[in-house]
């Protein structure tokens, strides 16, 4: 069911702001990731502006929902979203990767307000959310825990250790979101073409189903698809839910979309201007 049109317009506007912040911050830093962050923008915006029970003024609130970005290299998208949500000033996003900055190259829970777990060594962010969900049950707390995984990241074995244990303990206060953009840092040749490289992992929803999870597929860039999927996930009892969100790496900038070369590449001034023009044209259109 489509969401409220006014809410949708608001979230879409936020998404454009986040994309611009990502590109500007990476450009300013002269380093960082681009493709993965652009892939997760709508998911982060949906979380922080609609789904999560949080208080930006009290990031350590014990009863807050937890959100762990396991694909930690995409954290600039999270920093931009947290800033727009009021966790810290938006200008601070441009200190990304700078010495002594709270905006570290990979998420550091000891430095950045709103970061619930340090992550970035892929796969290692998958399990702490399970621990949070189990602890919530143990302590009688009603918060929900979300873990955002990359589809490249789920090549890591630890993810499937987590999938087994979460299912075994019927952890229904945990939802995984797989950012399924089918591209990873370098990838594997597609149809024998060594210059066109993809993540060849197949049957992703089936894999989670086989581990005992409830699976929902959605369009990870369409709030009308994404938000109902997240709402449904919270209602599922007796087992964890995995939302397989179909996304596009580099989403929103034509020359970045689907191209592994933009996994971690700094846009030139010309490329930045062209990207901003495309994002503004799409918003106006």
């Amino acid at each position: 069911m489509p969401i409220d049109p006014a809410l949708k317009r608001d979230l879409q506007a936020k998404a454009v702001q986040v994309r611009k912040l990502i590109l500007q911050a990476v450009h300013t830093a002269g380093a960082g990731h681009v493709g993965g962050p652009l892939s997760m923008v709508e998911i982060a915006v949906a979380m922080y502006f609609k789904i999560l029970r949080i208080d930006p003024k009290n990031p350590q609130w014990p009863d807050r929902d937890r959100y762990v970005l396991s694909k930690g290299h995409s954290c600039i998208a999270l920093y931009a979203t947290l800033a727009l949500r009021g966790f810290f000033p938006v200008e601070e996003v441009f200190t990304y990767d700078a010495m002594n900055s709270r905006m570290q190259g990979h998420p550091d829970m000891t430095k950045t307000p709103g970061i619930d777990m340090s992550s970035g060594s892929l796969g290692t962010g998958a399990s702490p959310p399970l621990g949070m969900a189990l602890a919530a049950k143990r302590l009688g707390k009603d918060f929900h825990t979300w873990v955002h995984l990359g589809d490249g990241e789920i090549q890591e074995g630890q993810v499937w250790e987590m999938a087994f244990v979460a299912s075994q303990y019927q952890v229904d206060n945990l939802t995984a979101i797989v950012d399924y953009n089918r591209v990873q840092q370098f990838g594997f040749p597609k149809d024998g073409n060594v210059r066109r490289r993809v993540n060849p992992l197949v049957q992703v929803p089936e894999k989670w189903r086989a581990f005992g999870w409830h699976v929902i597929e959605c369009d990870g860039h369409d709030f009308d698809s994404l938000i109902p999927a997240c709402e449904e996930a919270k209602t599922i009892k007796g087992r964890p839910t995995c939302i397989v969100a179909h996304t596009i790496k580099g989403k929103g900038v034509s020359f970045m979309e689907g191209d592994y070369n933009w996994h971690a590449k700094v846009p030139s001034p010309e490329e930045l201007a062209k990207a901003f023009a495309e994002l503004e044209a799409a918003q106006a259109g």
Partner: protein
């Protein structure tokens, strides 16, 4: 003859005791509960026990998440797995954010119940003390083990407890008081100082008797905390005799010997010898034969002490 007690039983019983005073304790088991004695909690306080299956990487991450929400997870597995299989998870999600996760490394050293080289980790102290924010403790006996469990539970931050599998002599009395980060004088002497850690300290006590019978007076100091290391305590004990022997059931690289050398080399250089496993892996065999072949008996410690003294002359 000293009373013999299995440290793993002490660990399990102390964990059970803690479930009555610490409602936020949670034992996470890598499916070894009937080896590590986590079963004592699994049977008697099942709400405080979760089997995480044969999946140590996930177990470490789960512990990090639990600690971030306020639980005090104690991981129970073999030392060889905790120090290796889940090391990246420990590094990124536990020690970097200084989360309150405790590791019970069972079957440490070479006496692992005839399991062989896969289950013998000769480098756990070296690996774990190289992680910033980590506390590393190797108790000598059951009395110290119990007190270390209590102290580490109440200390915020990540910690590793190195536990020996089989029964060992109880060397400390009921008046013993363990303190994290402090060395423990065991025997006064004047010819050389011996530093021991873990159960190897009990063998060093026997070595002192052998040396005494040959007219050599050894000053024995137990070092239960490998990190943070007791700089003042080590220097004071080294200063007493001017010659230092370290002995450990661990590789001679990066363990107690390395830690002591790091301290004395910078603060009070003395002639020194590091005794332990000679940079090799283990094998399966009965305890007595293992200690003999790998050179960890009191006789071997005494020989190392004499070699140090001869060299020093």
């Amino acid at each position: 003859m000293a009373k013999l007690i299995e440290m793993r039983v002490t660990w399990g019983e102390t964990m059970l005791e803690l479930t009555k005073t610490h409602p936020n304790i949670m034992i996470l088991d890598g499916d070894l509960g009937n080896s590590t004695m986590a079963q004592i909690v699994a049977y008697n306080a099942p709400d405080f026990y979760m089997n995480m299956g044969i999946a140590e990487q996930n177990m470490m991450g789960v512990a990090a998440g639990m600690a971030s929400v306020g639980l005090i997870p104690w991981l129970s597995s073999f030392a060889c797995f905790l120090a290796n299989r889940d090391l990246d998870q420990l590094r990124v999600t536990v020690t970097q954010p200084k989360l309150n996760v405790k590791l019970a490394g069972h079957y440490s050293g070479i006496l692992t119940g005839k399991t062989g080289k896969t289950h013998i980790d000769v480098g756990d102290i070296a690996i774990l003390r190289a992680l910033p924010h980590m506390t590393v403790v190797a108790p000598a006996d059951s009395v110290e083990c119990r007190q270390a469990v209590l102290a580490l539970t109440d200390m915020p931050g990540p910690a590793y407890l190195r536990i020996t599998r089989d029964a060992g002599p109880v060397i400390f009395g009921e008046d013993y008081r363990f303190a994290i980060g402090s060395v423990v004088p065991v025997r006064e002497g004047k010819d050389l100082t011996i530093f021991g850690t873990g159960v190897q300290t009990t063998r060093a006590m026997e070595a002192c008797d052998l040396l005494a019978s040959e007219g050599i007076s050894a000053h024995l100091v137990h070092v239960p905390t490998l990190k943070p290391i007791d700089v003042e305590g080590l220097v004071a004990a080294a200063r007493k005799t001017g010659r230092v022997l370290t002995t450990e059931d661990h590789n001679i690289i990066g363990g107690l010997g390395g830690a002591v050398a790091e301290v004395l080399g910078q603060h009070h250089p003395v002639r020194m010898k590091i005794h332990g496993l000679q940079d090799c892996y283990g094998e399966s065999g009965p305890n007595d034969a293992m200690l003999e072949k790998y050179g960890l008996t009191p006789k071997h410690i005494a020989a190392a002490a004499k070699a140090l003294l001869n060299k020093a002359r």
